[in-house]
Symmetry: C2
Subunit: 334 residues, 2 copies
């Protein structure tokens, strides 16, 4: 790949920092690097491959000359500045919700629907951190036997919320172990040694936006607008990596062996599934890695031929930064 | 109720200690109290209502004169000593798995199948800590519309494993926050800031014994041997109270409003379900309380007429000690 000028927008956040690490780890052909953040962070110096880059104020950003802009800001800022960067000629990969449900903008997990990138869209949306690993698995099972219905309960780490949430978990854990009270600031409830079924805001039908996103985005990425799907999204006191308990009903009955075999050959997936050796994934195993780890693949005892499984994936990497960088790589190398 | 002689077998464990607290809190009519544990703990003094009781060696136990024996030991010890206590004339309420699947022995959650106690069985089995709150909810929905299929993913606290597991979570959390390594001793994997889909031993079909217990025991308690049911049981870094994400399919479609209304009137259940006020249960809310808290009651978006919900219940209380004491109360007052 020829060298390109890369901008990271939201460079000081948890995902922005992970994007930098991943560009380096993958030897991404960065020519000139530019980093953008809110005015508060402007002027900070962030090292990359031995050189410090000074963070620029996003509001004043001139994207001229940028080839690839990796956005990891809130949806409002992405909606404001993403199209500006695209107009200036950059390939925009946006990690927010701003463009995900826009029919004109592809929502991409390269292993699943990377073919959409052949059209070189100016803006590509990066999916929700629970939807990405889930569709990696679902795409395989769909090819195998045709998806009919998916139920998922999540076990989500606090890094999905950001650095302040990680700090809140750390601080509250210390306080709780010391027998002291430490009222929540980032979250609506204590997160240390607790969990809550509340990720993102509640909507009118009693579901949270996160729960609806997991279903809606999975349908869009898989190209299955009528897939029957329901999610329960739960925050647990884990710093990093999301886990999911998934039940999948398919058009034809599938054995655990068949499902395991199909998943074993899939890009981006590692099957960790040998209970006799206590081999199954945990969030800590997925942390820092590139693969979505899948285990506990077994028959749904309530529905012969359906499959239950468990997956873990680093929400900052494949669930966010890695998938974004992979989208850029896919476009550049095609 | 007339005063009775009570024995707690396994008095020094997490559940045994909670039994003592509950006897006191509920003004249980204890005449003479006897405490049993392994030889290691024999001789220890445990206070109850202002008096110390000396722990006796279970192996040497003579149960003569004991009216109610609350067992909270492993299954082997329960199988050995439970029948001895029953033969000596005690009502045995056993918290282990020793008698749960025995057709001749009732498995009881008083709110659900307390009528089985009218026959004054010599031994009553106390169900699994996840099954108890689950069947409280399922019994209500069964009366409402007839259960067809139940899927559950659990979020289980470490106190279900015992005191050493609570200590392991505490110690590992401190180490992890200090950046130090602390290899697991009680659990197969690190539990601090992690989770794993592994509760109790694995069986041949890929399910853990815990997952099979949840289904088998629920069927027995509900008197529905053919209920289609599957569970995924996950340990999370919470000290106390288990949570469950549950999907329930019924013979006739049920609205969330109907389900909520039916659950609101049920003994032992509190409905905490007003997302607009961020009102939903968490493990910390359930801790120390007697009720199973139910929230997030909503339509299963993948199956119209089915219901998704979330519950939290103190696994040491309703999930173990409280239910056992309630069984004894039920027998004594009938």
């Amino acid at each position: 790949m020829k060298k390109v000028n890369v901008a990271i927008v939201g460079a000081t956040g948890a995902v922005g920092q992970e994007m930098l690490r991943i560009l380096d780890q993958r030897s991404f052909p960065v020519d000139h690097l530019r980093l953008f953040a809110s005015r508060n962070s402007a002027g900070a110096r962030i090292p990359f491959r031995g050189t410090d880059t000074i963070v620029e104020d996003l509001e004043q950003a001139d994207f001229a000359g940028v080839d690839v802009a990796l956005f990891s800001t809130g949806a409002e800022l992405a909606a404001l500045h993403g199209p500006r960067a695209a107009k200036a000629g950059a390939l925009v990969v946006d990690n927010s919700t701003a463009f995900r449900t826009d029919d004109a903008i592809p929502l991409v997990v390269p292993e699943v629907n990377g073919h959409l990138l052949a059209a070189r869209p100016p803006i590509v949306a990066n999916p929700n951190c629970c939807a990405i690993p889930l569709v990696q698995v679902l795409a395989v099972l769909h090819r195998l036997a045709g998806l009919e219905r998916v139920l998922v309960s999540t076990y989500q780490s606090v890094s999905g919320t950001g650095k302040e949430a990680m700090e809140e978990l750390r601080r509250q854990s210390v306080s709780h172990l010391a027998g002291e009270d430490d009222p929540p600031q980032v979250y609506p409830r204590p997160i240390a040694f607790n969990c809550f079924p509340h990720v993102d805001a509640f909507t009118e039908n009693g579901y949270t936006r996160e729960e609806l996103k997991v279903a809606q985005e999975s349908r869009k990425i898989l190209g299955l607008p009528d897939l029957r799907m329901s999610a329960t999204c739960v925050r647990i006191p884990v710093f990093r990596s999301h886990s999911e308990s998934v039940t999948v009903e398919m058009r034809r009955p599938v054995t655990p062996g068949e499902a395991r075999e199909a998943l074993r050959g899939a890009a981006g997936i590692e099957v960790w599934d040998d209970p006799s050796r206590l081999h199954y994934p945990t969030p800590r195993d997925a942390e820092g890695g590139d693969s979505t780890l899948v285990g506990r693949i077994r028959e749904d005892l309530s529905q012969p031929g359906a499959i239950c499984l468990w997956l873990c994936s680093d929400n900052l990497r494949k669930g966010a930064a890695l998938n974004a960088v992979q989208i850029a790589e896919h476009v550049l190398s095609s």
